[in-house]
């Protein structure tokens, strides 16, 4: 039997060597002794401001705009650029996909476990939006799904 951490021979019945156990105790004590400074105020100051709560009329207007986005998204599934007379919403959807398409190939391996659920969420949101293109909730989910993936890719880029 050898120590799983350093490979040195172990006495019978021992799970690891004394030297590794001693090392770990020392490093754990070192870690616990590191002072953690206050940081929240500085972080909070850099976060985007909390979104203003909108009233129903504004929410409905936003939903209508988002409905246009999903219509554009569904039309622009193909990789071709948007036509010159495309609506602003469909152009926005195309730009989401373009940005994702640009960042995804160079995403680091650390994202390997995080991207598939986001891609699956986009696929599911697209199916849902295709079934109910006038449903503002479905539209909102689709846009949120695009945005979530884009934000993650930007974080790791």
């Amino acid at each position: 039997m050898t120590c799983p951490d350093c490979g040195s021979p172990l006495p019978a019945g021992a799970a690891r060597c004394d030297a590794c156990a001693r090392d770990d105790a020392m490093f754990a004590a070192y870690a616990r002794g590191i002072d953690v400074p206050p940081m929240w105020d500085a972080i909070e100051a850099r976060l985007p401001r909390r979104r203003r709560v909108v009233g129903w009329p504004a929410a409905l207007a936003a939903a209508a705009l988002l409905a246009l986005v999903v219509a554009g998204a569904l039309v622009l599934r193909a990789p071709a650029p948007p036509p010159r007379d495309a609506s602003p919403a469909s152009v926005a959807a195309a730009r989401y996909r373009e940005a994702i398409g640009r960042l995804e190939p160079r995403a680091p391996r650390a994202t390997a476990a995080l991207l598939p659920p986001l891609t699956a969420a986009i696929d599911e949101a697209e199916r849902e939006a295709r079934r109910a293109p006038d449903d503002p909730i479905a539209v909102t989910r689709l846009v949120a799904a695009y945005d979530a993936k884009l934000q993650l890719l930007r974080t790791y880029d």
Partner: protein
């Protein structure tokens, strides 16, 4: 609500993330700035993360990228931000500080900085933070086999460099 959940996650994970960053850069002020940057970046993709995996794994992955990007920008890995001048608080009423002398704490910090960044990250997350190899693999994108090799080599290098202190203890 998202802001509240993010704040809760910050409270739960800030110490681990800060300690990891501190071990990587070896200087308190740089560690503070890079930890803040880590949480600002985390906030941007918090909605995408929420509910997927351990927060510590996710945050340490972001922190590692923040630190490595910083290293790249500075074009040097060791002794960042004049690590040798880092003030250590005097020992006092905290048992860990009484246990480890100021000299030994400084020696550990500098020995960690002499590891290459991959080994330093793997060793810090495994030994200082007690994460599993699978969690570290998820955070860093490295294979478990490579991480085990990195931790093993880091351990032997640190043991050799700190041998004098270990004998005194």
């Amino acid at each position: 609500m998202t802001d509240e959940r993010f704040r809760q996650m910050f409270e739960a994970e800030q110490a681990r993330v800060y300690r990891f960053v501190y071990a990587m850069v070896g200087a308190a002020e740089a560690a503070k700035e890079l930890t803040q940057e880590t949480f600002v970046r985390a906030f941007r993709s918090f909605a995408a993360y929420e509910g997927r995996g351990a927060a510590s794994t996710w945050l340490c992955g972001i922190a590692r990228n923040v630190v490595l990007n910083h290293f790249r920008a500075q074009r040097h890995f060791d002794r960042l931000f004049d690590a040798g001048a880092e003030p250590e608080r005097a020992g006092g009423d905290i048992p860990e500080r009484q246990l480890l002398s100021r000299e030994l704490r400084g020696a550990i910090r500098e020995a960690l900085l002499r590891l290459d960044p991959d080994k330093r990250a793997a060793f810090t997350l495994k030994v200082l933070e007690g994460m599993s190899y699978e969690e570290i693999a998820a955070a860093t994108g490295s294979a478990v086999a490579k991480l085990k090799t990195d931790v093993h080599r880091a351990r032997l290098q640190l043991r050799a460099e700190l041998a004098g202190y270990m004998e005194e203890r």
